[in-house]
Symmetry: C2
Subunit: 314 residues, 2 copies
């Protein structure tokens, strides 16, 4: 998607402006979203999920996603990613010029029906139509289509999710034409052994179409799961700046892993993210100023970097 | 130390009644400490650090440690462990009947001098005297002597701590006569690669005298570090119930990893701890009732166990 990815070992995909804001109390003005995106890009983040193309009456904070995409396209060097739940959303995202869209599909069918009122067959059909739309664009201008397999590690409705079902859904998505399949621990049930097992089996099914890992820190295992995923060669991770959108102190907490903590872990392991962690930590000021009623958090943010900390060599 | 350890894969050593209470705001009455210890033992915890033999005027909350040790000795099946900073403390611990004592030695000499006003040579001399005292007990009644190497992964005064210095101090402690050497990430600087490296090199130096891992969650890496330590065959971990004694929400937070979260991680990895996690989670009620001004936390505690969660087979 961009030139600089060859200089890094791991791609950190910032989902805060979408996943974080979608679950925040406050609504962030468009100009603040763009300031956030610009500043985080200047810290070295290479992929940002800037919003979602959903009906504004469902999620008012995402009503400006078209403008955010257009603004973000002016920021040099980043992949501008947007979530789209259906063909209508994809049409809008492609029109706005998003480099990449991500379509969530719940591996747990009860979760899928409860969330988007579509069963697996209907969701795959929607994905197929989005891929056909993508293919109507001339090569070189064709956006990248990702599917994020939600509840891939368990579901709060269904409970255990069978890993063969993850493989099957990944294969169905690839057969429908997606460029990439990510696996998401939507409810935070994943554990390290399971992460290794499910990523390996999914890779066995779809090879290099296997993409990002999206972990939550619900059970405190978010970064342990990252470590496990690294061991089976996963090299793209979603995270939310300051853990925005999910407070881990509240019952049922379900926040994304924290971008700053993820970058700290990766750099401490000698894995280059291309991100300047001190500049990244400074981005929080934009977020807290724009969302006074929302809480951000993160361990590195509270404790500060260790004395003598060295990032991975650039 | 006890019979049941053969039925488990990993030993969880509860440090809350010592490390947690030593850093808590409130002072817990002796009877509540004993209720805590009994109830946690009934949940299956096999080793508990019940207090420290330090001057009461320095830490008033530990003034009753002699009585706590005596009471804890009546609880069946647990190893009763106490921290001792010096020979005087060890004399008191042995007199009270503690099964095991742990002596902290800072690998960072500036930290040692700042904390206990002793340099390395003086600390090792103190350890030697404690081991001589141990040897004056008849075999079979001889307490177990552990050294915990503090700041083994970094120090907030000195910064980086050389891993060869960790090996050297471990060798010196073994040469002075200790039965076991644990490694402690006192200030929460450790990262997973470092954990693997330092435990492996220390094992190369002292073989099976290498004991427990004591991690803090300061940077959010506590459980990732546990995962790394498991990969290099560490099988004893310290943790504090409800993270007592260190609040991760405050700047400079430095709390121990949370016992409930540790047990959840281990059991999710198929590693038997012998601990009933639901009974363990219920122990918090005793702690919160006795310490109304202290906050306890933990991810599993807040989120609850995942739907369909299965512990490792007994």
């Amino acid at each position: 998607m961009n030139q600089r990815t060859e200089d890094i070992d791991v791609l950190v995909s910032e989902v805060g402006p979408r996943d974080g804001l979608q679950n925040a109390k406050g609504i962030m003005p468009t100009e603040d979203k763009l300031k956030w995106i610009e500043t985080e890009a200047a810290a070295g983040v290479l992929e940002i999920e800037v919003g979602s193309f959903v009906p504004p009456k469902l999620i008012p904070g995402m009503a400006d996603t078209g403008d955010v995409v257009k603004g973000a396209l002016k920021v040099e060097g980043i992949t501008v990613l947007a979530l789209v739940p259906n063909l209508r959303g994809a049409e809008n995202a492609f029109k706005a010029g998003a480099h990449k869209v991500t379509i969530p599909i719940s591996v747990s069918e009860p979760h899928s029906i409860s969330n988007v009122r579509k069963n697996h067959k209907e969701m795959i059909e929607e994905v197929r139509k989005i891929c056909e739309l993508r293919d109507s664009y001339p090569e070189g201008k064709r956006p990248h289509v990702e599917t994020g397999l939600a509840t891939a590690f368990g579901c709060s409705i269904q409970g255990v999710v069978d890993e063969f079902e993850v493989m099957r859904m990944a294969e169905a998505a690839v057969e429908a034409g997606v460029d990439e399949v990510g696996l998401a621990d939507t409810v935070g049930y994943a554990n390290p052994n399971q992460v290794k097992r499910v990523f390996k089996s999914t890779r066995a099914a779809i090879g290099n179409k296997l993409g990002s890992a999206h972990f939550h820190n619900t059970m405190g295992l978010g970064l342990a799961n990252v470590l496990a995923a690294l061991e089976v060669d996963v090299r793209t991770f979603d995270a939310s700046l300051g853990g925005l959108g999910g407070c881990p102190f509240a019952p049922g907490a379900s926040g994304n892993i924290v971008t700053e903590d993820l970058v700290f872990l990766l750099e401490s392991q000698g894995l280059r993210t291309g991100i300047d962690i001190e500049k990244l930590m400074a981005v929080r000021e934009i977020v807290t100023a724009a969302l006074p009623d929302d809480q951000i958090y993160g361990h590195v943010l509270l404790a500060g970097l260790p004395k003598g900390f060295k990032a991975a060599a650039a």
